[in-house]
Amino acid sequence: MNPSRTATSAVAADADTALRQKVLRRIRSRPTTRGAVILLGILLLLALLAPFIAPQNPHDLASLSVMDNRLEPGSQGMTGITYWLGTDAQGRDMLSAILYGLRTSLLVGLTSTAGALAVGILAGLTAAQFGGAVDAVIMRIVDFMLGFPSILIALVLLASIGRGVDKVIVAIILVQWAQYARLMRAAALVERRKEYIEAAVNFGLPTRHIMLAHLLPNSIGSVLVVSTISIAGAITLEATLSFLGVGVPVTQPSLGLLIANGFEFLLSGEYWIAAFPGIALVLLIMSLNLVGERLRRSFNVRG
């Protein structure tokens, strides 16, 4: 369409392929990273297939029985099913609850990160493109948001709007968009000084076109890389909020809520209610962090 764009795109494409191969090589060459990728894949698969592989639907109250509550791992229930990981205080099969909990955690983690990315990228791009007063206003809001501990903002917000998966997602988006906005702005500012953008401006291309077609694709890389680590952060935040009792509804427990439920039984020797969801959460966060960290290092991004 226009010469400057095709030229840069061709060069960028070559560099991209080289980089991608380098990253893949690095991931393969490190056993920990390889293990993390495999583990993450398994967890994703389990979450995705939860409704088909879980022995029980833990969100359907009619399928639970209080009479089967707090059974040890491996016990037989009244209905004949075996609870391989035991049951919680409501008679929920822990294995099913963990599979569904993984689903909730990943759903919250992925959607809220996507949402926060969208908001943050738009804000950062706008700030970088327009500069001046627009930049100042947006970045002061970002500073303000980053000045508060994220858990505090989320707690206050959820206490006022109530529980629910959708509300937790909104709260996490609100907490996390600011960091992406800051990163995006920095990356876009660097990009803006490059000659091809100057050329585009001199061609008289519309601002929106420059922003979305040139600035965005060329500066988004670092933000995307950082977001892989932030998925783990979002999941941790959801777990914390649910643990504190303001997250997901009690009848649809996420991993954090399952741990909270089991917490009070730990001392009574009924370890499985908190321990197994805890292990699942640790594995999930660890694999996400390992993969994200490796990506970040390979792309040499500072987040």
Binding site: L61, V66, G91, G245, P249, V250, E264, S268
Partner: protein
């Protein structure tokens, strides 16, 4: 040389610290009081705490028997006139002497208390037509209608010092502001300790919401001095950490360790415990008035809870025995009425509320809901023993007969104000009879509110049964005990038939403590430092 110094130092510290340790008491509460203001909310944790700082005219012992306190004796003329003789030589912790003026001021404050929740305590004083002080240590109360339980009720009504606000001559006349010239105190004035001045055995030291309430011995107390120089109450809503704190030696006394953990304490010589049945009934209150109700969704768009058959079906769907066995670990008694058998005005032999899901489904179909409907049960998660777990279990049972239920569990600081604004459709409640009589529940919850709000103050579900109203209104003004008991039984039967309240069980309260202490346990579930003794 060096070593001697160190050992001397250690010995010295031990000598210094040992008596201080023996005199301070740290108590872990399962449910935190919501205020230091004694008239803020008529709630068990609040009433238990304020009894340390404030006295009422009367008090109740561990079995809810009424005893003299700031009043030494009282008599009733057989109708509406009560004369209370006040105790001589009592001073408040700020040094002001206690007189009849303080009583008049305190009664007035309950009527002028803008920050009170659900008209707490105004339900008692709203029934007074006159309060007079013939002399500085006599109080004559005239009630609108005969009030047989007045001395019981007054045990919970804390007496404030009239010196905390500027006033002229005090008189019981709310329309003329009772003679008070300043502004009436609000809840915050007490919580920061400024106005928390009483005649009780302890005085206020500090209060940090969610962290602790600290009290110290009131050296001006009129009764025998307390053995504890300092008492600290720490709210620990989670049963696990509460017990862990006791086992680790952080707490001297804890409220309500989980019943499943009692065996651990029993097998450990370092600790003791007591289990006491209480009058606290746990129940669900249904919105039977509004159309539609905020948390009910039926296919026909109506509020099914208005149909008595649906209410009956809900009660039939719940397996009370299973909840008690599996969730309460047997530390509760099934409730087939609102006060345990054997208490005053309770039914001697109420019909068992059986578990019959098939009959429940049939009733639902009869009522026009063969496919059930959707419901959200609202509950606290930090007030009653296992409250949120109980509600979830009930949600299971309701869902199993087709009433698809969700649970909204929240902290009581959010729950109680929302409930009093009638934001719920089905709400978990718990009520301990403060008077030890059946009238306590019946006048507060199912009664249609009267103008003065002395009854029906908690009728959030809009229950309205004129026949029942007639009975309860008669009962509470009947001085003859035998007759009153009979009318209360009739009234109780009516409410059970109405089904707008679904009783689940009566809580049993457990206290655990270090072996060098002793706690007697109380039917009203109060945890009081005054009741903690050294075991010899």
């Amino acid at each position: 040389m060096h070593r001697t110094l160190i050992s001397a130092f250690i010995a010295g510290t031990c000598l210094l610290s040992a008596p201080a340790w023996a005199q301070s008491l740290k108590i872990a509460l399962s449910s935190e009081p919501t205020a230091i203001d004694p008239h803020y909310h008529d709630l068990t944790p609040n009433n238990a705490l304020i009894a340390h700082i404030f006295d009422g005219l009367t008090k109740q012992d561990e079995n809810q028997k009424v005893l003299p306190n700031l009043a030494t004796s009282w008599e009733n003329d057989g109708k509406t006139r009560w004369t209370f003789k006040l105790r001589q030589g009592v001073t408040f912790s700020n040094g002001q002497p206690f007189t009849a003026d303080d009583v008049i001021f305190s009664f007035c404050r309950t009527l002028k208390n803008e920050t009170a929740i659900a008209g707490s305590f105004a339900d008692i004083t709203g029934n007074f037509t006159a309060v007079e002080a013939p002399d500085s240590h006599t109080i004559v109360i005239t009630t609108k209608a005969p009030d047989p339980l007045l001395p019981n009720f007054l045990s919970g009504l804390a007496i404030l010092s009239s010196s905390i606000v500027p006033h002229d001559k005090l008189a019981f006349d709310a329309a003329k502001n009772c003679g008070v010239t300043g502004t009436w105190p609000v809840v915050g004035d007490f919580n920061d300790g400024k106005l928390a001045i009483g005649t009780g055995p302890y005085k206020f030291k500090s209060y940090t919401k969610g962290t602790s309430v600290e009290l110290e011995r009131n050296d001006k107390y009129w009764g025998p001095a307390e053995p504890w120089a300092n008492v600290t109450f720490v709210p620990v809503p989670n049963a696990g950490p509460r017990l862990a704190g006791l086992l680790a030696g952080d707490y001297d006394v804890i409220e309500n360790p989980a019943a499943r953990d009692v065996s651990r304490i029993r097998d450990d010589k370092r600790f003791g415990y007591v289990i006491m049945p209480s009058t606290r009934v746990i129940y669900f209150q249904l919105d039977v008035e509004r159309e539609p109700s905020p948390f009910v969704k039926a296919e026909n768009g109506k509020n099914p809870l208005k149909d008595p058959r649906v209410r009956k079906a809900m009660s039939l769907a719940i397996d009370r025995d299973a909840i008690i066995k599996r969730i309460m670990d047997s530390a509760a008694e099934p409730a087939y009425q609102f006060l345990p058998n054997g208490m005053f005005g309770a039914l001697a032999n109420p019909p068992k509320l059986a578990y019959d899901p098939a009959a429940a489904k049939k009733l639902l179909a009869e009522a026009g809901y063969p496919n059930g409907f959707q419901l959200t049960l609202s509950t606290t998660n930090d007030r009653y023993i296992n409250d949120s777990q109980i509600t979830q279990a009930v949600a299971q049972y309701l869902t199993q007969v087709g009433i698809r239920s969700e649970v909204d569990a929240m902290a009581r600081a959010i729950y109680f104000p929302r409930r009093s604004k009638k934001e719920f459709s089905v709400a978990l409640g718990g009520w301990g009879s403060t008077s030890g009589e059946a009238s306590s529940f019946l006048r507060q919850w199912p009664a249609t509110p009267d103008e003065a709000k002395t009854i029906g103050g908690s009728n959030y579900g809009g229950y309205n049964d004129p026949e029942f109203d007639k009975l309860i209104r008669t009962a509470i003004v009947t001085l003859d005990d035998a007759k009153r008991a009979e009318i209360l039984q009739q009234a109780g039967t009516k409410v059970l038939e109405g089904g707008a309240f679904i009783p689940l069980h009566f809580e049993s309260t457990i206290w655990a403590y270090k072996a060098n202490l002793k706690y007697a346990g109380r039917a009203d579930q109060f945890t009081m430092a005054m009741q903690v003794k050294s075991a010899k």
